[in-house]
Symmetry: C2
Subunit: 475 residues, 2 copies
């Protein structure tokens, strides 16, 4: 390809990432080379990456995976019996007894698919999940990519559109671009804690129908980056909306294990759909995504996830499965998923440690979210909706006009400018709201609060000095 | 999506896989459920998957990865010092010291990129490789998919075409389909041990120019599934051809570590390109692929690979890197790649064991390939070119006319019918030549010969009884 003109036009339209990650990498490298900075290291909480921030992995999971990699450890006295039994069981379902062989089917190892289906059935109070509806992939991004690629078609007015919440997960806009889909924004209601509004859905859809062919609605629940947890009534409304308007429901439920708001609970779209009766449960097309990168496992680096596919036309589903056929998902990730959905039970040797570790993560997350929200709301020029779940806070920035002018002069988004300065001056890397697709004049920043409390305090202290200095310089 | 009509037209055009894998899975399941078969288990050597066939993993790699998963093992006396040092070094380059965090850049962990570049430089006798030219992905299939997606454009006569060897790796045709590219076949010369023929390249390109816009040529060296190893003169010819015709070189060099033919050696396209002088080394666009699924590591289930990108327009390269941005490659796979390219050195505690394991694999592969080739050539109705590298044999079948008629009646490819019967009657799963893109009347089968010698003998014995019975029934 002698020039960019020859590149796939869809690829050319992928929006470029902001400069924040590369700036963070550059500063980190400068420090490593002995460069002097007003801080010892960069703390990056721009994405949901608990281990990077210092959270510990779940011991049971790591022990099982270590033994699977090196089965000689089955003889090791140091590991609890249930770790060794689980590893032996999992090695037994790998072909040739090795994590180094391909999985039997491109959707995943049948035993793991069955475990996932049993987990979902238990989670949803007995609403049956079937292994043949589960497709495992190298992470929920890849699962979503498969579905978006499957649905992509048309150009201009006939191009497939996806109703997308504003704000949305920061990885989503580029994924829509890369698959040649139109992002159809619907605003979440910040003043109602980022709730979904039915009138807004109708408005967004009506507008979109003049520009493209909307064929799906994306939902993030618990909300990334909003921290909102949808109640049952809202979910029912969204399902009815999807049913009436013939939209596929794409439910990102990656943070289903981390709801901590008072009297809040996680309701899966699948369960609510089936509680609404056959009129809905046998017709509405729903794809739900889950991942190892959730709050409590936090195994982002492993890149493993699955999707459950409900009410898809069987011939379409065959196409979906064929898409993955030349390249089955990695095996060790599949074993990690099995451990995630099939935790140690009371009485198992690992149960006590496992429960304590999970409880510790849950408490840290809940206390951090509350602490950070209160702290941010006490800062001048910042306003944060309380989160009820997920691992992000998404405060609103009231930027001084002089900062807005400077951003305009520099040709950079004001929220990106804010984050650049914060990174350069205090070594804290946050996400900019424009990455979450927001274009309105209410600027936002994004931070993951699942970190050791001492790290969170350090972040808040640095952010506070920066914010106060900023408002002092540009009153 | 209420029906297949709404599916992405490109996805609809993906050729369906043959029924062989699902038949193998069904028979395996029947045996598990107690079904009576004339064999105890299915042996599947249709794809290159050494661990599944019973080859052992490299201990050093598995030990390092186990420790990385569970760093408590750093205290363990059982592991050699160099294993622990390597694990500590690798954990040090993971953010938060955990394999559970995302990698810093979407191309891979900088330290691993540097190791890969050093390995390539060493392999190519000092021709420099640069970390910024390396992109790591979840396997060489994914690397190739990125490039194909980048190059995809147009429809009909303007659609991007890729010159593709016949036979080609069996996963390639569906990958081209899925990315909306035209497969432009060029025949390899079976009677010359599957060599590339320059006249045939020109013929194929000329024909193709009336049907699409050929913009790349795919090369598999050592050849999958042919076992051919290209000599330096051929590589020079192909490079000159690509230069003259402005084609991007896509060099699948996954089996670079397994050349065993007498007086044969592996020459990388990169090295030959640079030996040809600046006229070529500064202009010809080359992308070379390597993978953990190679012969000696054999870690297919891990799904890790990299590509080295030479002479790509910088703006195009930025697009390529942005494509992977929302979803960096899995970390544990990257660490496995580091171990692959940076083996224990003489004097290291693990060196002795490592060298013996590698030598054992190499010897098994070489002896198996020779043994199987001789055995197949002794069977009536079969003719096999000797392999010089890679892990497949690809014998030609001389099928009786009655079998061809039966296949026609059943509406199935004759080579697929042959493999189905072999699977049902003898429990051996081979690949059918049509999966490798071959449409000519010379039918072929594909088998991976990297397996323990006893397994290979079992395969050959079963294949022999089947073949003799077939020729007896249909003389």
């Amino acid at each position: 390809m002698s020039s960019v003109r020859e590149v796939n036009p869809t690829v050319r339209r992928i929006r470029a990432p902001t400069s924040l990650q590369s700036l963070a990498a550059r500063i980190t490298e400068e420090i490593k080379q002995g460069g002097q900075k007003p801080f010892r290291q960069v703390i990056d909480v721009s994405s949901g990456d608990p281990h990077r921030a210092g959270m510990a992995p779940i011991s049971f999971a790591r022990q099982v995976l270590a033994v699977c990699f090196y089965p000689e450890l089955l003889k090791d006295e140091r590991f609890p019996l249930d770790v060794k039994q689980r590893a032996q069981q999992l090695l037994g379902v790998c072909r040739g007894g090795s994590v180094g062989s391909y999985s039997l089917t491109s959707c995943g190892i049948p035993y793991v698919l069955k475990s996932v289906a049993e987990f979902i059935t238990g989670r949803d109070g007995g609403v049956r999940s079937h292994p043949e509806d589960i497709i495992i992939s190298n992470g929920s991004q890849k699962s979503l990519k498969m579905i978006l690629h499957l649905m992509a078609s048309g150009e201009g007015k006939t191009q497939t559109g996806v109703l997308t919440p504003m704000p949305c997960p920061h990885t989503l806009p580029a994924l829509l671009d890369d698959n040649g889909l139109t992002l159809v924004p619907y605003q979440l209601m910040e003043d109602r804690g980022w709730a979904v509004d039915l009138d807004e859905l109708h408005r967004a859809l009506k507008n979109a129908r003049e520009l493209c062919e909307p064929r799906a609605i994306y939902i993030s629940n618990p909300g990334n980056p909003t921290g909102h947890v949808q109640d049952r009534k809202t979910i029912e409304e969204v399902i009815r909306f999807a049913a009436t308007e013939s939209l596929v429901l794409l439910a990102d439920e990656v943070y289903q294990d981390s709801v901590y708001g008072l009297e809040k609970e996680f309701n899966s779209y699948k369960r609510v759909l089936f509680d609404m009766g056959k009129e809905y449960s046998e017709t509405v097309e729903l794809i739900s995504f889950h991942s190892l990168s959730n709050a409590l496992m936090g195994e982002c680096g492993l890149r493993g996830g699955y999707q459950e596919v409900i009410n898809m036309d069987p011939a379409v589903k065959t196409h979906l499965k064929d898409m993955q056929a030349p390249s089955s998902p990695a095996v060790i990730q599949q074993l990690a998923l099995e451990v995630m959905v099939n935790a140690p039970a009371p009485g198992d040797p690992s149960y006590e440690t496992y429960s304590q570790e999970i409880l510790h993560s849950q408490r840290t997350l809940s206390q951090n979210a509350q602490r950070a929200c209160e702290f941010l709301n006490d800062l001048p020029g910042m306003n944060c909706q309380p989160a009820m779940g997920g691992i992000f806070l998404y405060p609103c920035l009231n930027l001084p006009p002089k900062v807005l002018n400077e951003a305009k002069m520099l040709g950079v988004e004001p929220d990106v400018l804010y984050c650049q300065r914060l990174l350069e001056e205090e070594g804290v890397c946050l996400g900019a709201g424009c990455e979450n697709g927001q274009e309105d004049p209410n600027y936002h920043i994004r931070l993951c609060v699942l970190a050791p409390p001492a790290t969170l305090e350090e972040i808040l202290a640095r952010l506070s000095s920066f914010q106060l200095r900023l408002l002092d310089t540009f009153p």
